[in-house]
Symmetry: C2
Subunit: 457 residues, 2 copies
């Protein structure tokens, strides 16, 4: 059993995923799940669903709900952070403003929202407050950090606080879409991926123990063109989104060609070369009809789906009847509860997690957060040494991405507006210092950025 | 005494600098200076001057001259490489071609010539051949590598051959121009500089033992504007060049403001931010009338002066009378002979040299060549640990510059044309993949790049 506190529980879909996973672990029976959100209405929805679902599956889980974070941290063994400060609305305005300054679809790692707005200020400031509370109220607890930007945010916490933190994402599961496309039996596929969050690469890919990259190369040579012209590519619908299969898109295959390893999951869009993303036409060429997840089409569809899911949760919470059809008792695929079970009950598991490098990936500093295979257990989290990545990948993707993390964290820590401008000077769309400074000043002048504007002097 | 072989001796001015330095060292009396150049006429000029000068100063130095490099390497203790393959003409054509593709003043580290043309191919290929000859003919000799690109070229040799190599430049002496401008007694100034060749920063600056940066800050606040408007700034003429004092230019001061340390010497132009260099107007704003050393004005003046000096050497070599007025017996300021004397005769000296990092500069890999203070003596070359550089400098200048070195070396080692294109994709002026690929293909199709065109497939 364990005391698990979920901060940002108002996203009912995510809360229910964790709940299902807990209820599926006999070793976590009698645990306590504490839900926290500052939005009372959304919190109540999640709490109602949690209570009803626990009863329905006859779980002995205890659940509680608080709008006050500090109350919920007392006695916690694990704190899961899934907070998105301010929601998505302001980010869409920031993205539009950036577009007016010459930055199509906003600034940042292709998807400005990862950064919680300009400089990732709101998210970083929240992580800092949360970590300080944890140092005071539950200093022994693990922070399972799943809020974006996972790379910058978790790295900030591991460097600047005493909290034990690990970054978690589910993007790596997209390797299954490669297996599916190659018609491989998933049970006989084994993979290792390495990189940074949203910038992970298929370092090792095996089928029945043998290197499976040649199978991918065959598919690219013999089948990719027909696939990209087919309805299966265009009309693919995954769990929540309606746009092309970016994992097997021309853009993903081009990134593989340039870097020597296949990009996985979010990597396809956030770490692909900038010239794939100059406008909607380029995005459609590389990521299919709609231009992929981050285009004006793909992202709007994502936001609409998010709203629809939340509305459905609300309706379910006040409905009568079984919740099982909506939340079937099978593992969600998320790793958060796997970590809890591994550490609390010494159920050793090899997971894909974000922890400080300490030479797991060669050629990267020790204090930089990497996403690698990690052995989780009662003794903690131990990275599995994956070795080196190809030179092109390191020189053109990994280290430049690391530098953006360093620039963002350094600007935050030093409160330097100039640091934000210099970060933006490295954007290939910047034509002059005045352009970059103009955008940073405009973003920091927006009403919801008043505190950020004071912070970055 | 030592056997010193100078490859690329046809530049008489440089050969005479080394000769003067040798003749000034009693501990190097009875040494042998072997001059090598494939241009027989220039070699003969240098040889004639060398012989006459040695006689005139009553030196017991022995001198020889060869057009065949291999003969000159036998028995060498020190090999000084000052070769510029193909001269400057082709580079001017490459620069013009780059301009037509949207790259004002060429590609590369602000000054395309540093790279010996596209990918630095000609220089790197020469360094490789020279190092192989040395491994065979004088495996114990030191290679004193002073040909550009010093950073890429010397790093290639230290990584891929068994030759003991050190990179040498004189750019660091420009710190004296700061002292002069601040009206400091040079004898009471002490400095330490660190970085990469052509990317070095005034890490420590003292006057009478105390931090002298406040004196520089005072000058910037109180005197810089008047200086930049004065004739002293505009009309400054150093030893060979007629253009503004870039060491104390607005561009240098802006780089200091952005990075926290003052750039020194060539750094001012090669490591200053790209937005200082977008066109002649920008260059004149930041580097004064004429736009600094690398503009169409400054660089033409440099090439004209080079020709004039060589013509003068030729005239001197056939004249009668003393050479001392032209080559006064005072140290040249070059460090090559200091290294020879330190290693051959254990005359310990602290020099500013380029050797593999091994943690002299924190946060850079061990196998990257850094330019730092080095203790030279019979036990070899030992870097002095200088510690860390400011975060902005590391994130926005040092590591991006290191990545360009890595890209260039990796493209050379793997013979990858795509590697060159990817390197150019990081140039802030690149607007599309096609633009970069178009330029690389055009450059590699030039007649003098036939071998390079075959190498980069």
């Amino acid at each position: 059993m364990a005391n698990v506190t979920l901060i940002g529980a108002g996203s009912s879909a995510f809360s229910m995923s964790l709940l299902r996973d807990i209820c599926l672990k006999p070793s976590l029976a009698d645990s306590t799940l504490t839900l926290v959100d500052i939005d009372e209405r959304r919190l109540n929805t999640a709490a109602a669903l949690t209570e009803r679902y626990s009863r329905e599956v006859k779980s002995s889980l205890r659940s509680r709900a608080f709008t006050d974070r500090r109350k919920a941290l007392e006695g916690a063994d694990f704190v899961i952070c899934a907070v998105k400060v301010g929601g998505y609305g302001p980010l869409e305005c920031e993205r539009e403003l950036a577009g007016q300054h010459g930055y199509y679809r906003g600034i940042g790692d292709r998807v400005s929202c990862y950064y919680g707005g300009v400089g990732a200020y709101h998210q970083l400031a929240f992580f800092e407050r949360l970590a300080k509370d944890m140092e005071e109220l539950c200093p022994e607890a693990w922070l399972i950090q799943t809020a974006n930007p996972v790379f910058e945010g978790t790295n900030y916490i591991t460097r600047h606080t005493k909290v034990k933190a690990v970054g978690v994402c589910h993007g790596h599961l997209a390797y299954r879409r490669i297996a599916e496309r190659l018609k491989l039996d998933l049970g006989r596929v084994s993979v290792q991926m390495a990189g940074f969050n949203h910038c992970i690469w298929l370092k090792d890919f095996r089928y029945e123990g043998h290197d499976a990259y040649p199978l991918l190369d065959d598919w690219i040579r013999d089948e990719s063109k027909a696939y990209w012209e087919s309805d299966r590519y265009e009309a693919r619908v995954n769990e929540i989104l309606a746009f092309s299969d970016d994992q097997m898109s021309p853009g993903a295959i081009d990134a593989y060609r340039l870097n020597g390893l296949m990009p996985i999951g979010d990597t396809v869009r956030s770490a692909s070369p900038w010239w794939h993303h100059t406008d909607l036409q380029a995005k459609e060429k590389w990521y299919g009809p709609g231009g992929g997840f981050d285009s004006e089409i793909g992202w709007s569809s994502y936001l609409r789906e998010k709203d629809a899911i939340q509305a459905k949760s609300l309706a379910l919470s006040t409905s009568i009847g079984s919740l099982l059809p909506e939340y079937p008792p099978v593992p969600s695929g998320e790793q958060h509860i796997e970590i809890v079970d591994a550490i609390a009950n010494d159920k050793e598991a090899c997971l894909q997690l974000n922890i400080p490098n300490r030479d797991a990936v060669e050629g990267l500093p020790d204090d930089v957060l990497v996403e690698v295979p990690v052995l989780a257990g009662a003794r903690g989290l131990q990275a599995i040494h994956v070795g080196s990545l190809p030179a092109n990948l390191m020189n053109n993707v990994m280290i430049p991405r690391m530098l953006n993390m360093e620039r963002i964290l350094d600007a935050y820590v030093s409160g330097s507006r100039e640091g934000l401008v210099l970060w933006l000077m490295n954007d290939p769309r910047t034509r002059s210092y005045e352009q970059a400074k103009g955008l940073i000043d405009s973003l920091l002048a927006l009403p919801w950025n008043a505190k950020a504007g004071e912070h970055y002097r």
